[in-house]
Amino acid sequence: MKLKQLEGYLGEVAAFKNPKVQLEQYPTTAHLAARVLYTAESTFGDIDGKAVVDLGCGCGMLSIAAAMMGACSVVGIDVDSDALEIAQENIEEFEVEEVVELMQASLCHEAASAGSLELDNQLVTPMKGKFDTAILNPPFGTKPGNKGIDVLFLQAACSMATGAVYSLHKTSTRDYLVKKAESWGFECDVLAELKFDVPMMYKFHKKKAVDIEVDLLRLQPKRKQV
């Protein structure tokens, strides 16, 4: 499928009806999802015939894009029932039920030392290495109590996928994430620098639209040095 075609189809994916501030629910645009999945497949061959996981899938935009680019199996995981309801409708609209399934789960919980988050290892560890590729547009951790959630999502993705991880993060966190990736045994490349145009979706947004600088990262396990 061509990029423009993919973007055209994804334009029909329904978005959040009542986005929740605390969960940082912003729709991934068709434009962005098309580019991420098209690049992942045409440049790297990471999608066609692969097992893909979409962490924080929201309304399923990335999952559906993965199915359209030939993934054999896609699992979209999100914490929110309302988002998953819309994702399920999208899956049916796009007739990708044979490939895409959803799961309601929280990847993180409050650590014993309250005020910080940690991964729910009992949930995440059994999923280690079960997927080829992970794709995610994770919450950035800008809401109270969510600090560091972006890193935890990325860490979970690196654990679940044996191959590549495609994720979106604030450019301001780039250096920190590259170091983190290295500590997990991953190389991290910046595939693109983007601007997220966050329109006035919530009442507290004063400006019409805000541009956040965002990196599209591709992580892959480091090749062992012989």
């Binding site: 015939g49 692969k50 097992a51 054999c72 199996s73 699992v75 914490v79 998953l84 399920q88 039920e97 044979e98 490939v99 399934e101 959803l102 799961m103 309601q104 789960a105 929280s106 919980h109 409050e110 729910d120 009992q122 949930l123 059994p126 999923m127 290495g129 079960k130 080829d132």
Partner: protein, 124 residues
């Protein structure tokens, strides 16, 4: 939810840690739907080592799904095996029901094909 995914779900309630009991989760009142999917043999063969075969057999028996006891030496050339595997893990969808932990009895609901792995605060 397909069985390929059920095969990676363990009970994660706090202090539930008997590996024999917390996996696989036992189905209760499962409503199944077969959804035909295109078969990709390369994909199936690649997934085999990632499956917990023992657990998959337990679950397949529970649900009345046909699955050979043993993985053949040469799965890529065993059409019957691949077809049975494909049907079991990719075409069998659990639409409704519950998954029960044999260790702590916690129940995870499945609604409209979506398993709910969320826990109450005291279970985290």
């Amino acid at each position: 939810m397909r069985l390929i995914t059920h095969n990676m779900l363990k009970c994660h309630v706090k202090n539930c840690d008997n590996p024999d009991k917390q996996f696989p989760l036992r189905f209760k009142g499962a409503e199944l739907e077969q959804v035909e999917a295109e078969r990709n043999d390369e994909f199936l063969v690649r997934m085999i080592p990632r499956l917990d075969w023992r657990a998959l057999l337990v679950t397949a028996k529970e649900l009345g799904i046909e699955l050979p006891e043993n993985i053949p030496e040469d799965p890529e050339n065993d059409d019957a095996f691949l077809q049975a595997l494909h049907t079991a893990i990719l075409e069998t969808h659990v639409k409704e029901g519950t998954m029960v932990c044999n260790g702590c009895n916690h129940e995870y609901k499945i609604t409209k094909g979506i398993p709910n792995m969320l826990l109450a605060e005291h279970e985290i």
